[in-house]
């Protein structure tokens, strides 16, 4: 009954979405009487999908093996947290999560957004319903998560052990909230283009959604990067895997949107531009979903290879992106450009930010899709990886990071003050860092060297907007900007330090043997067998010393039975100045064990930077929302902020 309840809720929600869309069309044509009904329908629709998703969690929690999806992806002897998180560790469940977030976002939007034109609001709700409708159809026709299995199985086939990790509970839902949160920006842009009400008010209504989605994307990507780093045992934090790119592309677009939307909100300028970015941002989310869920890629995220699903998703993508682009082509030209600005101004800075982000996005997009394109055309198979992305996008990203230090110093409309003088100290710091790298590490690559240089410069430049201001009277949004930009410097320094200074040691060690890596001496003590709830393992014991007292690391190779798989559990010890990363491999005939050691100076800065960027976004979001509340209480805000 549980599964049937979930399925019924899904059908009902799909019906309501259709109704919501029809009401939108009639409301826009002949008056707004349907408005109240649409809000109510959106809220009920969101609630129904939540019920449906709760039902899925329930059948997974109790391992109901009469449900095909549970049989395929779960197992009774699995810890409860992975039983529940396993609900979205598969194709159907993750698509249900996608739709649930989409509909729930629509419901929250219907519930909370009152501060914008009623017509645009209704058009946006209709667009959101249209989006949801396509994905309901996809679930109900091509990926029913609640399909029954007859007769029921005695035992499930288990969850991929790589996914049996706390990361699964956090990383996919966060990313999905981010991906799909952008749908509201898409719907708002669509609605505003329909009604022609592209103005600062729209931007202020859209901004919290973009900020919120962007924060979650940032944190989701950061978490995913760290998960891959410790779980795969390869010692890398980013592999330019197409699936990683699938999350990076919406992030790049959302980052651009986040900056241009401020121009629209503050100055009423960059109208068409911002609408275009809002369309592109969610389109990139859908492209990502298509890449990941259609099975065209080789990845841990590609759960199933099913051409029908791929075609279906591609069709949806074509319809939504096509409709938005056509609407943009028809209406975009008629948008009046807002307040003018001069060449040296905050607006120009943000336009350059947008241009660079867009070029990087284009490079990542083309590099990710190129293999698919070549294979479709010539049948030849190829892959595009780090050599391409680092060499082509890396220098642009560094240039962007340099400009991140400049943009916030400029004032709106025109800049007449000699602001560039302020950058003398950060620039000197950057030069100093550059010289130090030549002395300390003359042989490192050009990108890591420049990364360290720009990191040092930006760490100082990013806090300049606070210099000479009373910190308590500085708006929270400004604090958020500073923290996020400082986070970029931190992450950049971590990436560069990791690339420049990592030392690696791979050896076959006999018990008692000592290996050196970086400043460490690591003694291999031996191995012991271990057992967990649904796995057995060989655990190595390593004792590492560096001047002071020893630390013990215990990397494992785990053997899972359902499905039969091995995973490496790296043992990582974190110090203030880096991480010691150890993996144990296979034994050889002579009684030695393969041991791989890394000393990764300052690698943790990468994820610390990511968290800071997200935190900066959160500060800005809180600041903006708080300001809206305050404005609401003060009727004269229009004059004050005009």
């Amino acid at each position: 009954m549980i599964a049937e309840t979930g399925l019924a809720a899904l059908w009902l929600a799909a019906g309501l979405a259709a109704l919501q869309f029809v009401l939108m069309v009639s409301a826009l044509r002949s008056g707004l009487a349907a408005g109240r009904a649409m809000r109510a329908i959106a809220i009920v629709q969101g609630t129904l999908t939540l019920i449906s998703f709760a039902m899925l969690l329930w059948v997974f929690a109790r391992t109901d093996l009469s449900v095909a999806l549970v049989f395929e992806n779960s197992h009774s002897a699995k810890p409860l947290v992975y039983k529940i998180a396993g609900a979205w560790g598969n194709h159907e469940g993750s698509m249900l999560l996608w739709v649930t977030v989409l509909a729930a976002a629509g419901a929250i939007f219907a519930l909370l957004s009152r501060r914008m034109g009623e017509r645009t609001m209704l058009a946006a709700l209709g667009a959101q319903a249209a989006l949801a409708l396509g994905f309901y159809a996809f679930l109900l026709i091509a990926s029913n998560p609640f399909a029954r299995l007859s007769p029921p199985a005695f035992e499930g086939r288990g969850l991929n052990p790589l996914l049996q990790d706390p990361g699964l509970a956090f990383h996919p839902p966060t990313l999905y909230l981010g991906y799909v949160g952008l749908s509201v920006a898409f719907s708002l842009a669509f609605g505003a283009l329909l009604t022609g009400e592209v103005d600062a008010r729209l931007a202020r209504a859209m901004r919290p959604w973009v900020l919120g989605a962007w924060i979650l994307l940032t944190l989701g990507i950061t978490a995913g990067s760290y998960w891959a780093y410790y779980e795969l045992g390869w010692g890398g934090w980013w592999f330019w895997d197409p699936v990683e790119n699938a999350s990076l592309m919406p992030w790049l677009a959302a980052t651009a949107l986040l900056h241009s939307i401020n121009v629209l909100a503050a100055r009423g300028a960059l109208k068409a531009w911002t609408m275009m970015l809002a369309v592109i941002a969610f389109s990139m989310s859908m492209v990502g979903t298509f890449l990941v869920r259609s099975g065209v890629l080789t990845s841990v995220h590609a759960f199933a290879i099913d051409p029908e699903r791929g075609t279906f998703l591609l069709g949806l993508l074509g319809i939504y992106v096509g409709a938005a682009f056509i609407l943009f082509a028809v209406r975009g030209a008629s948008l009046k450009e807002g307040a003018p600005f001069e060449l040296v101004s905050r607006e120009t800075g943000l336009v350059i930010n947008n241009l660079l982000l867009s070029v990087i996005l284009g490079i990542v997009f083309l590099g990710t899709l190129y293999p698919l394109f070549v294979e479709a055309v010539s049948g030849e198979k190829l892959s595009v990886g780090a050599p391409y992305f680092n060499a082509v996008a890396g220098p642009l990203a560094l240039l962007l990071a340099v400009l991140v230090g400049v943009g916030p110093l400029l004032s709106w409309r025109r800049e007449r003050r000699p602001v560039f003088k302020q950058l003398a100290v950060p620039a000197l710091l950057g030069v100093a860092a550059l010289l130090v790298t030549f002395i300390v590490a003359p042989a490192i690559g050009i990108l890591p060297r420049l990364g360290l240089t720009v990191g040092a410069y930006l760490a100082a430049a990013s806090i300049l907007p606070l210099v000479g201001r009373n910190p308590l009277r500085t708006p929270l949004a400004t604090w958020g900007m500073v923290v996020a930009h400082f986070g970029i410097a931190v992450a950049l320094a971590g990436m560069a330090a990791n690339a420049a200074f990592t030392s690696e040691r791979l050896a076959v060690a006999k018990p008692g043997e000592t290996l050196s890596v970086g400043p460490w001496l690591v003694q291999f003590e031996g191995v012991t067998p271990m057992a967990g709830k649904n796995w057995t393992a060989i655990e190595g014991k390593l004792t590492a010393t560096r001047g002071s007292g020893p630390v013990t690391l215990k990397p494992q190779t785990r053997y899972f039975l359902d499905p039969p798989t091995e995973t490496n559990e790296a043992a990582i010890d974190t110090f203030w100045n880096g991480q010691l990363y150890t993996v144990i491999g296979k034994p050889d005939e002579a009684g030695g064990w393969q041991v791989r050691l890394w000393w990764k100076p300052f690698v943790t800065l990468i994820w610390l930077g990511g968290v800071l960027i997200g935190l900066g976004g959160a500060l800005a979001l809180v600041g903006r929302l708080w300001r809206v509340r305050r404005r609401r209480r003060e009727p004269d805000w229009r004059e004050r902020y005009a």
């Binding site: 068409a272 841990v300 490079i363 791979l506 076959v508 039969p564 491999g585």
Partner: protein, 145 residues
Amino acid sequence: MKPKNQRLVLVIAALVAVIAAVLLAMWGLRDRAAYFYTPAEIAAGKAQQFKPMRLGGMVAKGSLRHDIDGAFTFNVTDGKASTRVRFRGILPNLFREGSGVVAEGKMVGDDFIADNILAKHDERYMPPELGNLAAEHKAGKTLKR
């Protein structure tokens, strides 16, 4: 700047950005994309020396050797030809003799020097690159478990 001119400048800037991205990507992809080859194609001399590429096939049974410095040597075969692969690193967990594999690296002489052996993440999963090979293999092997 007049609003009208401003819009023109913005449109031109956007177009320049799009064109720049395409040109940069084309320039980068020309010599940085790694082609995928099978041992038969390598035997036919299709692969250039020292050029990054991927090699896919089955690990030949009985060919895996463990060298003293932690490196591995094994043969990859597609039934028609076979290529010797050298790899320094930890093999992915699902690496087995008789099972599918994709290696990233380059040809040096007659050997394929792998920088990376791609993990098959899941027992049920086969890299699409292996195409028919994988299908044949699946029918024989994975059903046994």
